[in-house]
């Protein structure tokens, strides 16, 4: 048996065996972190594979896909493309998100019958069965679905399939089925084909397509094809290969992946804390043993290897359990994740369960090993550096550690000063790089200096409390004796609480900002229409004639491009807005600005648009119009959260003249004072044109509640964060104080021997707990408010939006109360541990 195996068996295995609960908890913490990681990676890989598989099959044989903002591509443009010699085939597709009545997500593809066969015949192994191609798409209610979906629903060709769409439940006759081999068959369960006219009836937009599928004529290269497309559709169309299109469509999954990965890291951080505490406990209990081993000739490296070996054993056990748990978790949560992604990002076809890949397992091992080794090394280094004789001495006052911490703080201060001087001396043009380096170094210096601040603060309070509140003084002694552990505990809890407070502040600021913006900008009391359904205003029927309506306010919203970015173009009746809206002006004289925009001499732009492009009132910019680039002068800069790229606001008649677009997205009703908005909304529903029954009607109040509701939902997430934070706090405090009590049993016994009352030593432990919780709560609140600043900067960088600061009182109060209640709960077990051991036994140890 090798020397290491001999030691491992006696030292590592023995420890795992005699402390099964503590070691088991640490391994379980690692396992949970690994399980989250493995399930996330496995599920996202499965979703991507399903989407790529299905899309790859559906777009097989297609060279280019063309789209053009929310308005889509119309019949005329399609015909113009068909006349171009560069293209062998041109087909328009309408894509509709729907579900079967049993809840299965389904993407309905509205296709031209001429193109239908190409759709379902080009991919390897995919074929139409039980279908009469000539007759199938002559039926307006015909549908072709995957044979596996039909089998799952207990249906067959010739039967009826009911589907929930945005305009209600529609019944289709099944006129054919698509078959495909292997996993592709499962992925295709998420798609079904219907005739174009049936699709147009659902969207309410006849003659408009979501995208155009193009096959190139022989010998035509993609570059000249793109030029031909731009000549027909203008520069605001988007041309992508099927692969690019699928990749861009699924890019939203990266957000989920990033959020889940952050959660995985948080879980592993907690696992690291468990391992740190576990190893600290082992070291506290086995300091003398370490001294004996060193005195018997074991090297520092050998001692370190013993303890690291123990941590690696923990990590390996945790990782194996975590991979198994993660695989099981992936099976159960795969469908859930696909469902969530389908609701908020893109429609995910049915996903087949899969095992984690070897790469994922290897990554999990690396994460688990690095977490456990880093945490154990952090706990172990101070012990390994001590001389054998010091290890053999039982008591330690912490003076040596305190001196080392003070030294580190002094060095940190010197480095911080040097960095400050260096920052001023940074060469011109390199300020950004110098600033970034300075921030990183200063953050590291702050990290190095914090334990010294904890020590100094603790010593200051302790000096004043020893004579009058000895229980507090002993608690502070316990905390400052292990400054690293204390700082980590307070830091982990404070960070978790800070995230709650910051989230609350940002979402409240966002909610208040959006609500006040909408409140000010929407002049009406009842709204007819929705952004996804542009229509001719006569489609709204005679709503303006409803009793009690004073004026109608028309609003057109579309996306376009300006100064190289996608932006929102909002055209409205500015004369009504002038009377009834309250725009929040950042620049521009309101009366003159309204005159100019109504007179067609300029445009309002949003604050984020002006900020992004460095524009001020009086500057000019160009928008692409059907007649070529059109110049507009900025007459006012207003607050607007419509689009991250910015918003340009025009008077509707001016927009119609310049863009030749007769559509509107909303017809809004301004009511006379005292008129019941609900009654008018009901009357407006009845007054809609027969073929525009899909147009939504809502009172402005309900509309606002609906729009701002998502911010409230976002804010409600802070409750979930709070629960997570309190769990972290409870675990941290429990582990820290239990360890503290365990390592101070002799001291507490001695205090009892010299006359400390039971309630005093209970008070000492309680103080310890409440000092941690209070410091974490205060630190968390302060940090939470500071975090609002970078959060707003991130918003600014990504969206150009800024929100005013809002005091998150609800989250702050909850965080404070939660911290105290958590502390009280977390103190129960250490106290019972303390009461279980008499002074007599503890002193005899």
């Amino acid at each position: 048996m090798s020397r290491f195996a001999w030691l491992a068996r006696r030292l590592i295995w023995r420890e795992l065996r005699i402390r099964p609960l503590r070691q088991g908890l640490s391994a379980l913490a690692v396992a949970l972190g690994v399980a989250l990681f493995v399930s996330t990676e496995t599920n996202t890989a499965a979703i991507l594979s399903a989407v790529h598989g299905a899309r790859g099959a559906l777009e097989s044989g297609v060279d280019l896909l063309v789209t053009r903002d929310a308005a889509g591509i119309d019949d005329d443009a399609l015909d113009a493309l068909r006349e171009r010699p560069e293209f062998a085939s041109v087909a328009g597709v309408v894509e509709i998100a729907a579900t079967t009545t049993s809840g299965t997500p389904l993407t309905l593809l509205g296709v031209d019958p001429r193109d239908a066969m190409r759709f379902a015949g080009a991919a390897d192994g995919m074929r139409l069965v039980d279908v009469d191609p000539a007759a199938a798409f002559l039926r307006q209610d015909g549908i072709v679905a995957s044979s596996r979906l039909l089998a799952a629903l207990g249906l067959r060709v010739g039967g009826d399939l009911e589907i929930d769409t945005s305009i209600g439940t529609r019944t289709f006759r099944i006129v054919g089925a698509v078959e495909a081999p292997g996993a592709l068959a499962e992925a295709l369960m998420g798609f079904a084909f219907i005739p174009l006219d049936a699709a147009a009836a659902i969207t309410g937009r006849p003659g408009r397509f979501d995208r155009v599928r193009l096959s190139l004529a022989e010998g035509v290269d993609p570059k000249s094809a793109r030029t031909a497309i731009a000549a027909v559709l203008g520069v605001d169309s988007s041309v992508k290969s099927p692969d690019e299109w699928t990749r861009d469509a699924t890019i939203g999954l990266d957000t989920f992946r990033a959020v889940f990965f952050l959660n995985d890291l948080l879980a592993l951080l907690i696992a690291g804390f468990f391992v740190f505490n576990s190893v600290s406990a082992v070291l506290a209990e086995r300091t003398r043993e370490a001294g004996l081993l060193r005195a018997s000739g074991m090297s520092r490296r050998g001692l370190a290897a013993t303890f690291v070996g123990e941590a690696i054993a923990l990590g390996a056990v945790g990782c194996v359990v975590g991979v198994v748990l993660g695989s099981v978790l992936a099976v159960f949560t795969g469908g859930l994740l696909a469902d969530v992604v389908s609701r908020v990002q893109f429609v995910v076809p049915p996903v087949s369960a899969r095992l984690p890949s070897l790469v994922t397992i290897a990554q999990a091992f690396v994460l688990a090993a690095s977490t456990t080794v880093a945490a154990s090394a952090l706990a172990m280094v101070p012990l390994v550096r001590r001389a054998p004789l010091e290890l053999l001495q039982v008591a330690e006052s912490g003076e040596r550690r305190a001196a080392a911490i003070r030294r580190a703080a002094h060095i940190a201060v010197v480095v911080a000063v040097l960095v400050g001087i260096g920052l001023f001396a940074a060469p011109r043009g390199h300020e950004r790089v110098a600033g970034t380096i300075a921030v990183v170094v200063l953050a590291f210096c702050a990290l190095c200096g914090t334990p010294a601040v904890v020590l100094a603060l603790g010593a200051f309070v302790r000096r004043r409390s020893f004579a009058r509140r000895p229980a507090l003084a002993f608690a502070l002694d316990a905390l400052t004796l292990q400054p690293m552990r204390t700082t980590m505990t307070i830091g982990a809890f404070a960070l978790a609480l800070a995230l709650v407070v910051a989230h609350g502040g940002v979402t409240r600021g966002m909610g208040d900002g959006i609500r006040s913006w909408l409140d000010g900008n929407i002049p009406s009391d009842v709204i007819v229409g929705g952004i996804a359904f542009p229509f001719r205003e006569e489609g709204a029927g005679s709503v303006a004639a409803i009793d009690g309506v004073e004026r109608a306010f028309r609003y057109r919203y579309r996306k376009t491009r300006a100064l190289g970015d996608e932006i929102a173009l909002a055209a409205m009746d500015f004369d009504v807005a002038r009377e009834r809206s309250r725009f929040q002006f950042h620049a521009g004289e309101p009366e003159a600005a309204f005159d100019a925009v109504i007179g067609g001499r300029g445009a309002f732009v949003s604050e984020n648009f002006a900020w992004k492009h460095g524009l001020v009132v009086g500057d000019r910019f160009a928008l692409a119009t059907p007649d070529g680039p059109g110049e507009f002068e900025i007459v006012a800069i207003v607050r607007d959260y419509m689009h991250p790229g910015g918003t340009v606001l025009l008077h509707l008649p001016v927009y119609r003249e310049r863009f030749h677009d007769p559509l509107v997205d909303f017809v809004e009703l301004c009511l006379a004072p005292g008129v019941d908005a609900e009654r008018v909304a009901e009357a407006a529903r009845a007054a809609r044109a027969r073929d525009h029954a899909f147009l939504p009607v809502a009172t402005t109040q309900r509309y606002l509640d609906h729009v701002v509701g998502f911010v409230d939902d976002l804010r409600a997430l802070s409750v979930v964060q709070l629960v997570l934070a309190l769990a972290i706090g409870a675990v941290s405090i429990f582990a820290t104080v239990t360890l503290s009590v365990a390592s101070r049993r002799r001291e507490l016994a001695l205090l009892r021997a010299v006359g400390m009352r039971p309630r005093d030593w209970r008070a000492s432990v309680a103080w310890e707990v409440y000092v941690i919780a209070s410091a974490a709560a205060v630190g968390g609140l302060a940090l939470g408010h500071v975090l609002w600043i970078p959060a707003n900067l991130v918003f600014r960088a990504f969206s150009g939006f800024v929100f005013d600061h809002a005091w998150p009182w609800r989250e702050s109060v909850l965080a404070l109360l939660g911290a105290m209640v958590t502390a009280w709960i977390a103190a129960r077990l250490p106290l019972s541990l303390l009461e279980r051991h008499g002074a007599y036994e503890a002193m005899d140890e």
Binding site: S397, G398, G755, M756, R757, M843
Partner: protein
């Protein structure tokens, strides 16, 4: 005759262990007077330390009564016993048992601080005691920087700070060299004779026993001999 500070009436302590119980202290009767220094001698396992812990109220007898200053410890709750330990009983241990994070001054002040906020008189007494024990230059130091003899003197300072009527010492010279051991033993004797404290010291050290007024010998938890020079009686 000086008053009785400590009375033991049929005190026994039985521990449950293995197949049969272990009798550590077996029906001891004794009285200890103020101003006397008694050494308790016996081989390892004879019940010396257990007896001392019973006298210190750190443990409760299985039967019999321990009476300190007229108070039967069995009638007292935890709070009352804690109060007794910090006001009437001083404890000195073989391995000092000083609080490592407290300075010598703070260690000595501990029983007072646990009772109430220290007064000017307390601080004056602390200064005098530290001076008397030769620790003036060490008063702000932590225990880890002191020698064994200094640590035991610091422990003595802590035990004496509340002016106890009863001082219990468990092998007070066990971890010291002969010079320091003799010095500590003299301290204990002087405390008894000069300050009227009732001092009980468990020891193996014949030099300590030689300075005691009485020597009480234990074997198997029973008193097997008393050499009474002054003030100790056993019925």
């Amino acid at each position: 005759m000086p008053p009785v500070v400590l009375q033991l009436r049929g005190v026994s302590r039985v521990f449950a262990g293995g197949s049969e119980p272990i009798v550590a202290v077996d029906g001891i009767d004794a009285e200890f007077l103020a101003g006397t220094f008694t050494a308790i001698l016996g081989r390892s396992g004879s019940g010396k330390s257990t007896l001392l812990h019973l006298c210190a109220s750190l443990d409760r007898p299985s039967s019999g009564a321990v009476i300190v200053d007229g108070i039967d410890l069995a009638t007292q709750d935890d709070d009352a016993l804690a109060r007794l330990r910090r006001t009437a009983i001083g404890l000195v241990f073989q391995f000092f048992n000083l609080m490592p994070q407290l300075s010598i001054e703070e260690n000595a002040l501990l029983p007072i601080v646990l009772e109430r906020a220290p007064t000017g008189a307390d601080l004056a007494r602390l200064a005098a005691l530290i001076e008397r024990l030769g620790l003036s230059s060490r008063r702000t130091h932590r225990p880890e920087r002191l020698s064994g003899g200094e640590r035991q003197r610091a422990a003595l300072a802590r035990a004496l700070m509340p002016s106890p009527r009863l001082l219990l010492a468990d092998e007070p010279t066990g971890a010291l060299d002969s010079t320091n051991a003799t010095a500590i033993a003299r301290w204990l004797r002087d405390l008894a004779h000069d300050d009227g404290v009732c001092v009980l010291a468990v020891t193996h050290d014949e030099r300590v026993a030689a300075l005691a007024d009485s020597v009480l010998r234990l074997d198997d938890g029973r008193i097997v001999g008393i050499e009474s020079r002054r003030g100790t009686t056993a019925p």
